[in-house]
């Protein structure tokens, strides 16, 4: 039987106080992963003395998108992300990823911070945020540090977050100029579905050429990573020089390079290649290039 004491914090200060004072504290946000594990008496809770409910902490909520920089509070729910007009207008791929998660009920509870800290290999929030080059603000009583999101996860369900830290917010630079984005997800059904693969592409474009690009996958590799070879292939190329199918092949090679041949590779290789190909094709089409 898992036994713990339930604490509830009402301010960020209180959260940091408790984290500084007590050991063996597990933070509870939306609870859509945590409570399931708790009900199943997951042995990882044997090492937990306190459950710290932070859902009331207002400082950890909200979306702010400025002209240069943007931030999303860790407790922002997926429902809030997908219904935000600002997100829809400026970062539609974030909204698309949020809307693909779980069910209405899960999206109403689950938070973006929880999705990141839980760090499942298939978590849907990573690839769009990594594409933005997002950093996480991890705060403890002594102050805050910033970690690049792609360095945050060491291994599935294992992050660099320290015991006395809380994920406060996600910060990123807003894409500039003319930019295009897409988010795609393959699951086994249309709702409450774990990603088999997901893909975000975000590109800044200038004069019919790609200025900056990030192609990032989810569920393809143990931790979501940008496809550096694909990015290299696309960057600084004019539209005319780009072959979407080739980009797909490069991504698939890169994935297999990271994971090695696994049981799922015969499926994931062609499927990922296709997702990348489509993302690039869509980008060219939306940018008005008719090759």
């Amino acid at each position: 039987m898992v036994e713990y004491q339930l604490l509830r914090a009402h301010s960020l200060e209180e959260v940091l106080e408790i984290l500084a004072e007590k050991k063996k504290v597990q933070i509870l946000a939306g609870g859509t992963d945590l409570l399931v594990d708790l009900h199943q008496q997951d042995p990882k809770f044997e090492n937990i003395d306190y459950l710290l409910d932070i859902t009331d902490v207002a400082e950890l909520k909200g979306i702010k998108l400025g002209p240069e920089e943007g931030e999303i509070g860790a407790l922002t729910t997926h429902a809030e992300l997908l219904s935000s007009p600002e997100i829809k207008e400026k970062l539609p791929f974030i909204g698309a990823a949020a809307s693909s998660i779980g069910s209405t009920q899960i999206r109403n509870r689950a938070t973006i911070g929880g999705n990141l800290v839980n760090a499942a290999a298939c978590a849907d929030s990573f690839s769009p945020l990594i594409a933005l080059g997002a950093e996480l603000v991890l705060r403890n009583k002594g102050g805050a540090r910033r970690v690049l999101l792609e360095d945050f996860v060491e291994w599935p369900n294992q992050t660099v977050l320290k015991d006395n830290e809380v994920l406060e917010k996600i910060v990123f630079k807003m894409p500039q100029g003319e930019y295009y984005s897409s988010y795609q997800k393959i699951g086994r059904r249309n709702a409450v579905s774990i990603s088999r693969l997901s893909l975000t592409l975000l590109a800044e474009v200038e004069n019919e050429a790609i200025k900056n690009v990030q192609v990032v996958s989810g569920a393809a590799t143990p931790a979501p990573v940008p496809f550096r070879e694909v990015n290299k292939y696309l960057t600084a190329k004019t539209f005319a020089e780009i072959d979407p199918a080739e980009a797909g092949e490069i991504a698939a090679d890169e994935m297999v390079g990271i994971t090695g041949e696994r049981w799922s590779t015969p499926y994931k290789r062609p499927a990922l290649s296709k997702l990348v190909e489509r993302a690039v094709k869509d980008l060219l089409e939306e940018a008005g290039y008719n090759g």
């Binding site: 393959i186 086994r188 059904r189 249309n190 709702a191 799922s264 015969p266 499926y267 499927a271 997702l275």
Partner: protein, 763 residues
């Protein structure tokens, strides 16, 4: 014929209590002094039990007893073959076999006690593939039997050699289907109360077949049937699934209730339910079919091997339905069919909605499309050239003449409902891009009710009280399918009373006559006739009495809306006054109804005869979009046309169609219980995928009515036919869209994209 209550979409009689949460399900039941029990299940698919130590568990707080097989009076039970262990005695035959059970003051105490039970096993090699199990020299799983064969049903007609010699085209294909979980909303639950109202044990709970459960409990306790009372409660879905597994649970609880002298409650968690319950049979099917170049079938040779798992359970009858329906609804002169069931150390398999038909229909209706392509015919055309029509003779030699053979009608109406012809032509043309649409269909004939499995009869009791209220009892059970409503409608129709005067009573084996199991889509057909019989007997008495009292001829009188009319529109009496007066003059105002099906026949050696006295016909069409770049498959639209004889409640029929189509869609494209070396991988809905509402296509239900001479008001069956057609229709649509023929279920991402399934840990 103008009906007052029948053929109308009246509200379900049990809707109010269900939507308001007032309905009590098995897990809601509480009795004074009640104990809670849990079962320890083995993780080994095949092992000898060397030793079970229970002393430590017995000493745990709150524990009132720990029991093993040696405490069970008679440890073997089964509806067909008595080979299922209540608790494993010397050997466990599947991972999930119960080996011990603990009863305690609370569920948590019972669960804690289980952890203190020590079982020593000697692991044995296992057999996990029925194709291995059937080989000569295979490890024998039930040592008292000659081999691992549970059953073999042959069917022989004509001469297949000759038939294939006449063929211009011969195709040979293999198909496979998967283990399926019933996925009922409510996991199994029972409470057994000892020594209640002059019964040794009373069993309450989530029970599909109260009489089968009574048989099992009485056999296990070695007591008379009259000493065991089973009361059915509201049930949160069953789909064929709450038979043997609940009987075992009831038997275990009964043993503990008698040992402790206190009520004992057992409720499975979802994980326990997955681990312990029986599944739909996976089949391995080989089909050989011959046809002339004009598209006339000349011969079919079929072998179907079903995985029975550790126990026989319903395998003998499931595979029997397969042998009857394996050729599909097609005239074939020369047929050789063999269906088999084999023991393995996999989870055991039993009844599930469809019952041996979804597997063969997937194969045979896929095959018809493959053959059509080979012959250069359109799928519809090939079917039309071969399908049953009035007077056709089936593979078993039955002439279809007693009822309307409506295949052409159901097919045409389904095609019309989904605009098949236009879409077929459109999607047959080259489609640009990766996303391709396709449309596919499948048709079936299905024997109604039990057929030659067993005596097919049912009873009812109707009682008219002195205030004119009507109490209706049936020996068949409401399993969520709408039986209470259907039977109330039939009673109201015959007696001419409003629905509000009819009270349908819960099934209680002490009051209601044994009517067999509520299975095989037989309730409306067989049970409905029994209700009609009782109501007509009472109506006869009422009319006799009224004719005498008012000096009318019987045919001048009419019972309608709770009044007696003189035929000229004048009311003579209220139903309540009339029947009250009859009661007061000493006339029996209760009646038993009984219905026994028309004769059927079956020669088990040759596989010939008239296995069912009537059939239903159905056609389903699926329109899909296949993403040939990623393997994603969307079922966009489905049409489902089913001949139900007569729809007693058309809204309820539509509900059955929607539900069955969705279950068939899950079977077709995503559901698969993964079993590795006998062990289920993932025992809850995190791993086992069923369709969500977002996967639901637009479904067009088409009710076709050709009243059956033997059905109550002409009604037949709908529950199972709705599920059996979808997988083949979808597979045919996928092949039409993408050119890829998939011969294994489910049609998941991997199969659609690369043509084969991938499994974790596999290569």
């Amino acid at each position: 014929m103008a009906f007052k209550h029948v053929n109308k979409g009246v509200r379900r009689v049990d809707a109010y209590e269900k939507v308001t949460g007032k309905a009590k399900f098995g897990a809601d039941l509480e009795f004074a002094n009640m104990l809670h029990a849990k079962v320890l299940r083995t993780e080994y698919p095949h092992a000898e039990i060397e030793k079970i130590e229970t002393a430590a568990a017995e000493g745990m707080p709150g524990v009132r007893g720990v029991f093993t097989a040696k405490d069970i009076p008679n440890n073997l039970f089964g509806v067909i073959v008595q080979d299922q262990q209540v608790l494993a005695d010397k050997k466990v035959l599947l991972a999930g076999d119960g080996v011990a059970m603990a009863v305690a003051e609370t569920e948590a105490q019972a669960a804690a006690a289980l952890e203190k039970i020590k079982v020593e096993y000697r692991e044995l090699e296992g057999v996990f593939d029925p194709l291995e199990s059937r080989k000569e020299g295979a490890l024998k799983l039930h040592p008292e039997k000659d081999d691992n064969q549970v059953i073999h049903h042959p069917l022989r007609k004509g001469d297949v050699k000759k038939g294939f010699a006449e063929a211009d085209v011969i195709l040979e294909r293999e198909y496979t289907t998967q283990f399926i979980e019933h996925s009922y909303l409510e996991p199994e639950a029972v409470v057994v109360v000892p020594n209640e109202e002059n019964h040794l044990v009373s069993v309450y709970g989530s029970i599909q077949n109260p009489y089968a459960t009574r048989n099992a409990v009485s056999a296990v306790l070695e007591v008379e049937l009259a000493e065991v009372r089973v009361i059915q409660n509201h049930i949160g879905g069953s789909f064929g699934g709450k038979d043997e597994v609940v009987s075992a649970m009831a038997a275990r609880a009964a043993v503990m209730a008698l040992k402790t002298g206190r009520p004992v409650k057992m409720v499975n968690s979802r994980e326990e339910s997955f681990t312990e319950s029986y599944k739909r049979h996976p089949y391995h099917l080989t089909y050989k079919i011959g046809a002339t170049k004009e598209g006339k079938l000349t011969a079919m040779e079929i072998a179907a091997v079903a995985d029975s798992g550790g126990y026989a359970c319903q395998t003998p009858f499931v595979t029997w339905r397969s042998v009857v329906q394996a050729t599909g609804p097609y005239e074939v002169e020369n047929v050789k069919t063999d269906t088999y069931g084999y023991y393995t150390n996999n989870p055991y398999t039993g009844a599930m909605r469809g019952y041996g038909s979804p597997q063969v229909i997937f194969a045979q209706e896929s095959l018809m499309d493959e053959l059509a392509a080979e012959l250069g015919l359109e799928p519809v055309e090939l079917r039309k050239r071969n399908m049953y029509s009035q007077g056709s003779v089936t593979a078993s030699g039955q002439k279809l003449e007693r009822h309307t053979v409506s295949l052409n009608e159901v097919m045409s109406k389904a095609m019309e409902a989904i605009d098949y012809k236009k879409k077929y032509e459109e999607y047959s043309r080259e489609q640009p891009g990766d996303k391709k649409k396709g449309i596919g269909l499948s048709i079936s004939f299905r024997g109604c009710s039990l057929g030659a499995e067993a005596i097919d009869a049912a009873a009812s009791v109707i009682q008219i009280n002195k205030d004119g209220s009507v109490a209706v009892y049936s020996g068949l059970a409401e399993n969520g399918q709408g039986l209470k409503t259907i039977f109330s409608q039939i009673a109201a129709e015959v007696l001419g009373v409003p629905m509000s005067e009819v009270e349908f009573k819960e099934l209680d084996t002490s009051f209601t006559p044994d009517s067999g199991s509520t299975v095989a889509s037989r309730a409306t057909l067989i049970g409905g006739n029994a209700i009609k019989d009782a109501a007509e007997k009472l109506k006869g008495r009422i009319m006799d009495f009224a004719a005498g009292k008012y000096d009318f001829k019987i045919d001048q009188l009419e019972l309608k809306d709770g009044f007696l009319y003189d035929g000229q529109g004048n009311r003579l009496a209220t139903f309540a006054d009339l029947t009250g007066e009859m009661g007061n003059t000493g006339i029996l105002m209760s009646a038993y109804g009984w219905y026994k099906s028309p004769p059927i026949s079956w020669d088990e050696e040759k596989g010939s005869g008239n296995p069912y006295f009537t059939y239903v016909y159905g056609c389903q069409i699926a329109e899909v979009e296949v993403d040939t770049g990623t393997g994603e498959l969307s079922v966009l639209n489905m049409a489902a046309a089913h001949d139900v004889g007569r729809a007693i409640n058309p809204e309820n029929v539509k509900g059955q169609i929607y539900g069955g189509v969705m279950m068939g869609l899950g079977y077709g494209i995503m559901e698969e219980l993964e079993v590795r070396d006998g062990v289920i991988q993932g025992t809850n809905f995190h791993d086992y995928m069923i369709p969500t509402i977002k996967d639901m296509p637009d479904i067009k239900p088409v009710i076709v009515e050709n009243p059956d001479p033997d059905g109550p008001f002409g009604a037949k069956s709908i529950g199972e036919p709705t599920l059996e057609l979808g997988s083949a229709a979808i597979a045919n649509a996928v092949a039409h869209a993408s050119g890829r023929r998939i011969r294994s279920l489910p049609l998941n991402l991997e199969r659609v994209l690369i043509g084969r399934a991938l499994h974790k840990g596999g290569k």
